[in-house]
C-alpha cells in the first residue's frame, strides 16, 4: 500500500508539473462546446479534472485527508464552494437569473481553478521538485514569449476567444496593428501572465547565483518587451505595483529610484502603450479630445436613445447618405460625443463600457440578492472588475469566503518572508508581490475567471505553500 501511495504521489507531482507547462502553452482549442455560451470545455479542463480525482484518492490513501479537513485554508475553500453552490441554487430557483447548465458550468470552473491551490501545496514535497517546477516555469515563459514574437514577426497562428466566432478554435493571423496574445487567446490574459512572471523573476534575481542572474535578466527583459507589445495599460501598472512591493518586501529600496527612471524612459519612448496611457488621462480623466458631432440630424437624435431592441433605419441609396455615414478615417460605428481619434475612441469605450454597463449590472445584481448575488454566469461573460463581479455573482457571503481564502493564503506566504532558506524567502516575497499585482489587475479585469491566468495563480500560490514545508 505504501508503495502505491508513493507512486501516486510521484504521478501527481508529474501531473502538476505538466499543468504548469500545459495550461499556459496549449492554445484554447475547444473540446466540447456548451450550448448558450462560448465558454467551451477544453483538454486542460479534463487534465485538471483527472488531477483533482487522483489527488482525492491520494489524500484518502495517504491518510492526509483528516489533517486537510481541519486546515483553515482548505475549510475556507470548502466554504467558498458551499456558498457558490447555494448561490447557484438560489439563482436557478429563487431569482431565476441564470440558465441552469451555464450556472453550473461557471460554478465548476471556479472549483476547478481553486482546487489547484491545495493540490500544488500537497504534492510538491522536496526542494528538488520545487526547483524543477521553477525551471519548467522559466522555460514556459520563454516559449510564451517566443511564440508572441513569432505571431508579431513571422505570422504564426493566433488562437483567440475574444468573440463567439473566434472561440470556435479558428486559426487566425495577427491583423495590422493587432496585439499579440501568444498562447493566451487574449492579449490582456497574456499581459497578466507576463506581469506575474516578471515579478517572480525579479524576486529570484536577488536570490540566485550570479551565473543564473543573466538568463533571468534576459527572460524578464524579453517578457517586458512582449508586455509592451500587448499595450495593456493595467498590467503595466500592476507590474509596477508588484515590483515596488517586492523591493519594499526584500528591503532593496535603492532600486526604487532605478524603477522610477525606468518607468520614465518607457513612458517617454513612443509606443502604443504610451499613447494609450496619454489617452486615458486626456479622455477619461480630463474629458478632452475632439469629439464626433454627428453628420445627420437622425444620427444626432438616435445617439440620445438607448433602444437597441427597436427596428432602426438602416437602408440607404448610397454610403454617403446612410444613417451611419461618417467621414473617412473615422470609425463607422461612432456615435456623437465619442472621440474621433481611434486610439482615444478605444480607450474611451474601454472605460465607458465598464462605467455604464458592466459595473452597474454587478451592483444591480448585488442589490437584488445581497447575501448570495444572482449566481455564476448571471453577469454575462465579463464585469471587468473581479470584486464587483464576485459581489454581483455570489453576494457578500461568497465574497467574504473568497476574501478569507486570499487572507489565509497571504498570511502563510507572509510567514515565508522569514524563512531561513534564501531562495524560499525571496520566492515568497515574489509570490506575495505577484499576489498584489494580480489583485490590482482584478480591479479592471476578471483575472480570477480568466482560466489560464487564474489556474496559474492558484498553482503558484500552492507551490509557495508547498515550499514553506519543504524537506531537502
Amino acid at each position: 500500500m505504501q508503495k502505491s501511495v508513493t507512486l501516486l504521489g510521484r504521478i501527481l507531482f508529474l501531473l502538476v508539473l505538466f499543468l504548469f507547462v500545459f495550461i499556459p502553452l496549449y492554445p484554447k482549442f475547444p473540446l466540447f462546446n456548451v450550448a448558450g455560451t462560448f465558454v467551451a470545455i477544453r483538454l486542460e479542463d479534463l487534465m485538471i479534472g483527472l488531477t483533482v480525482a487522483l489527488w482525492g484518492i491520494y489524500m484518502v490513501l495517504s491518510n492526509q485527508f483528516k489533517t486537510l479537513i481541519k486546515d483553515k485554508l482548505f475549510l475556507a475553500i470548502l466554504l467558498f464552494f458551499f456558498i457558490g453552490g447555494v448561490s447557484v441554487f438560489s439563482a436557478i430557483f429563487l431569482t431565476h437569473s441564470v440558465t441552469p447548465h451555464i450556472g453550473f458550468l461557471h460554478f465548476f470552473r471556479r472549483i476547478e481553478f481553486l482546487m489547484l491551490l491545495p493540490i500544488a501545496a500537497s504534492v510538491v514535497k522536496t526542494k528538488k521538485q520545487f526547483i524543477w517546477i521553477l525551471i519548467f516555469l522559466g522555460l514556459t515563459v520563454l516559449t510564451v514569449n517566443g511564440y508572441a514574437l513569432g505571431q508579431q514577426y513571422l505570422d504564426w497562428p493566433v488562437i483567440s476567444t475574444t468573440n463567439s466566432e473566434f472561440s470556435k478554435g479558428l486559426i487566425l493571423g495577427l491583423t495590422p496593428g493587432g496585439r499579440v496574445n501568444s498562447t493566451f487567446a487574449g492579449h490582456y490574459d497574456l499581459a497578466v501572465f507576463l506581469a506575474m512572471a516578471i515579478v517572480i523573476l525579479a524576486a529570484l534575481f536577488f536570490a540566485v547565483k550570479k551565473i543564473i542572474k543573466i538568463p533571468i535578466v534576459i527572460l524578464a527583459g524579453l517578457s517586458f518587451l512582449v508586455l509592451m507589445m500587448t499595450t495593456a495599460r493595467l498590467s503595466f501598472a500592476a507590474l509596477l505595483v508588484g515590483i515596488l512591493s517586492l523591493l519594499l518586501l526584500i528591503k532593496k529600496r535603492k532600486y526604487i529610484l532605478l524603477l522610477v527612471v525606468f518607468v520614465a524612459v518607457v513612458l517617454t519612448y513612443p509606443s502604443q502603450l504610451r499613447d494609450r496611457f496619454i489617452s486615458t488621462i486626456t479622455v477619461n480623466i480630463f474629458h478632452q479630445g475632439q469629439r464626433y458631432e454627428g453628420r445627420t440630424d437622425d444620427q444626432k437624435l438616435r445617439s440620445q436613445l438607448n433602444i437597441p431592441t427597436l427596428a432602426i433605419k438602416t437602408s440607404s441609396n448610397s454610403a454617403s447618405t446612410s444613417t451611419f455615414a461618417t467621414a473617412s478615417g473615422i470609425a463607422t460605428d461612432i456615435t456623437p460625443g465619442e472621440p474621433i481619434d481611434t486610439t482615444q475612441l478605444g480607450v474611451y469605450r474601454s472605460f465607458q463600457i465598464r462605467l455604464n454597463i458592466e459595473w452597474p449590472r454587478a451592483i444591480t445584481a448585488l442589490k437584488k440578492n445581497p447575501f448570495l448575488g444572482t449566481g455564476y454566469s448571471s453577469l454575462g461573460i465579463a464585469t471587468d472588475n473581479d470584486f464587483l463581479r464576485s459581489l454581483g455573482e455570489v453576494g457578500f457571503l461568497g465574497t467574504a469566503a473568497f476574501v478569507l481564502v486570499l487572507l489565509e493564503a497571504a498570511k502563510r506566504i507572509i510567514s515565508g518572508l522569514k524563512n531561513e532558506n534564501t531562495l524560499i524567502r525571496f520566492f515568497s516575497a515574489g509570490v506575495l508581490s505577484m499576489f498584489i499585482a494580480f489583485i490590482v489587475n482584478g480591479l479592471f479585469i476578471d483575472v480570477f475567471e480568466a482560466s489560464k491566468v487564474a489556474s496559474l495563480f492558484w498553482l503558484i500560490l500552492g507551490l509557495n505553500l508547498a515550499a514553506l514545508k519543504l524537506k531537502e
Binding site: 483553515k72 475556507a76 447555494v86 442589490k367 437584488k368 440578492n369 487572507l407
Partner: protein, 184 residues
C-alpha cells in the same frame, strides 16, 4: 449576545422570506383604462406568468402603479425595490423579440420579482420617438393606443425559500466561526 442577535436575525429573515405574497400574474390588476393583449406570447398559454396591456399610460405611472399593487399583495410595510435594467434585458426575462424602451424590475430580495417592460414609441406630447413609430391596436377594435406594458411575475416556492434561508444561515455561521480562526 451575538448568539441572540443571530437567532433573532435568522427568525426575522425566515418570516420575511416565507411571508405570503402574490402567487400568480392574475393576482396583479390590469392597468387602468387599458385593454389586455391577446397577441401570441403575451398570454400565459405561451409564456408563464405574463400579461400585457395597451393603454395611454407612460412609465411614470405604470411602474409606481405596479409597485403599489405588489406591495399591497405582499402585505409588507415597505415597497419593492426598483431596479432599472437595459431594455434589451427584456429578451431574457419577458420573452425573446420583446420590443422595449424601458425595463424595470420590482423586487423583494430573497422572495420574488415582478418585471415591468414598457414599449413607448411616442413621447408624452405625441411626437415620434423613432423612425417608424406606430400606435397599437388590439384585435378588431378601432381604438389606438400609445403604449404597451408587459409584466411578468417570477414567484418562488416555499421549499426553495426555506432551503435558501438554511444555506444563508449556515454560511453566515460558518463564515463567522472560520473568520474568527483566521483573523485571530
Amino acid at each position: 449576545m451575538i448568539k441572540k442577535v443571530f437567532i433573532l436575525f435568522s427568525l426575522l429573515l425566515l418570516i420575511y422570506m416565507l411571508w405570503p405574497g402574490p402567487g400568480k400574474i392574475a393576482d396583479f390588476a390590469p392597468l387602468p383604462s387599458s385593454v389586455k393583449s391577446t397577441l401570441a406570447g403575451d398570454n400565459i398559454e405561451q409564456v408563464s406568468n405574463v400579461a400585457a396591456y395597451f393603454s395611454d399610460n407612460y412609465r411614470g405611472f405604470v411602474v409606481p402603479y405596479y409597485s403599489k399593487i405588489y406591495q399591497s399583495l405582499s402585505h409588507l410595510p415597505f415597497p419593492p425595490m426598483r431596479l432599472n435594467h437595459p431594455p434589451e434585458y427584456s429578451w431574457n426575462v419577458i420573452k425573446k423579440h420583446t420590443d422595449s424602451t424601458y425595463m424595470e424590475e420590482l423586487v423583494y430580495p430573497l422572495r420574488d420579482s415582478l418585471y415591468v417592460n414598457g414599449f413607448e414609441p411616442f413621447y408624452e406630447d405625441g411626437s415620434l420617438k423613432f423612425w417608424g413609430s406606430t400606435k397599437f391596436t388590439e384585435g378588431s377594435s378601432p381604438d389606438l393606443w400609445y403604449t404597451k406594458a408587459t409584466i411578468r411575475y417570477y414567484p418562488a416556492g416555499t421549499t426553495v425559500k426555506f432551503l435558501v434561508w438554511g444555506g444563508i444561515i449556515f454560511s453566515i455561521y460558518w463564515l463567522f466561526r472560520l473568520g474568527k480562526r483566521i483573523f485571530i
